[in-house]
């Protein structure tokens, strides 16, 4: 902190040592090519996820492909475009670990939704509490 300045007093307003200044100011410097490559990769992945819909792939394969492409795109954006790949672990963990808590909310939501669905089927008889609808689906279910 401030006591470090005491060892090498400098007039206020003068530039600090060039090495220290450079390390601080230059920030995230990477070759432009890597951004263009990631850009292209994101285009390919988006096209792939669009084609999943275009060719009417259904069932677990659809889930798997959509989620895979989604997580790959998200990973590329966070790692390269947002520079997380080159940050120190202190900030990487501080930002990326807390969202894991959301998995708990996701689990609670899925359990509660399944329970509500079964109760509605039981009491309102709107749709049969279909046997295709298992009790522990991790995500939204297609009702078509």
């Amino acid at each position: 902190m401030a006591h470090a300045e005491g060892h090498q007093p400098q007039p206020v307003g003068q530039q600090p040592s060039p090495t220290g200044q450079r390390a601080h100011v230059e920030g995230q410097q990477h070759p432009i090519g890597i951004y263009l490559k990631i850009w292209g990769l994101l285009f390919v992945l988006s096209t792939a996820s669009y084609l999943v819909d275009y060719f009417h792939i259904q069932g677990y394969l659809r889930w798997f492909l959509i989620l895979t492409f989604m997580l790959m795109k998200a990973g590329l954006i966070v790692a390269i475009f947002m520079h997380m790949l080159w940050e120190r672990l202190a900030i990487v963990y501080a930002i990326l670990v807390p969202p894991l808590l959301l998995l708990v909310l996701l689990g609670i939501g899925a359990l509660e939704a399944d329970y509500t669905f079964l109760t509605r089927g039981e009491f309102f008889g709107g749709g049969s509490a279909a046997p295709t609808h298992g009790p522990a689906h991790p995500g939204p279910v297609q009702h078509r």
Partner: protein
């Protein structure tokens, strides 16, 4: 005037990597996030809170979609467009996705040229990003109009199936569109600062006494990439599911 001392010690001591580095950084009795300007750290923390907001929306959407006994409208058909006599499924959303990804690409390059102190290129790339963002919002306005006027979708019901479709759709895409719109405004502000040379002359910004640096372009970029990131999740779980 502790600022020079902080930057001065930044590059002096060798820093351990890995888990040891985390312990060292957090226990160093200085700032915890080395090499990260405070504005960038604050933006990351804001984005973390925003992650929780959008996740709450998406998880609520999952909950209402799983729990409804009425069939869910098929997004592939709802968002189809007829172009040249052919009905192409989800084409509008696909184009919007490509536009937003392209804006992320131009943004990343703007950050890069900013750190190279290339004022003019940074300005034009920021402006391109803002233009692509505005296009995205425009297409979203078109999509909303089509859904409300032609398809009769309302937050409380729609002719195609489960009533929760409308409320989820307007809430999630509306909140995301608001983020994009705010981003476009700030992109124009940052672009103006860049082309005026504010950042080269370290002129303090609006409502702050701190010197302007090209770091604000990266901070702006983090926000913009986050907007793109959220769209990746919305595209996957709302439109494709």
């Amino acid at each position: 005037m502790a600022q020079p001392a902080l930057t001065g010690t930044g590059g002096v001591l060798p820093r351990p990597e890995g888990l040891e580095g985390i312990v060292a950084d957090w226990s160093s009795d200085q700032r915890a996030f080395k090499n990260v300007p405070w504005g960038k750290a604050m933006m990351w923390i804001f984005l973390l809170s925003d992650t929780f907001i959008f996740s709450s929306f998406l998880i609520s959407y999952m909950t209402v979609r799983v729990s409804t006994t009425v069939p869910w409208p098929n997004p592939s058909e709802v968002f189809a467009l007829t172009i040249g006599g052919h009905k192409i499924p989800l084409i509008l959303i696909a184009i919007m996705t490509f536009i937003l990804i392209s804006s992320s690409g131009t943004m990343a390059m703007a950050v890069n040229f900013g750190y190279r102190k290339n004022r003019v290129k940074t300005f034009w790339l920021l402006l391109a990003t803002a233009a692509l963002g505005a296009t995205f919002v425009g297409m979203q306005a078109f999509e909303w109009t089509k859904l409300i006027m032609d398809e009769g979708v309302r937050p409380w019901g729609n002719p195609m199936g489960a009533a929760q479709f409308g409320s989820s759709f307007f809430m999630i895409t509306g909140f995301h569109g608001t983020h994009v719109s705010i981003g476009v405004i700030f992109l124009i502000i940052v672009a103006t600062k860049v082309i005026r040379g504010d950042l080269d002359r370290q002129r303090p910004g609006f409502m702050t006494g701190r010197k302007g640096t090209y770091e604000i372009v990266e901070t702006m970029g983090l926000y913009w990439h986050f907007v793109d990131l959220v769209w990746v999740f919305i595209f996957a779980v709302f439109y494709l599911w």
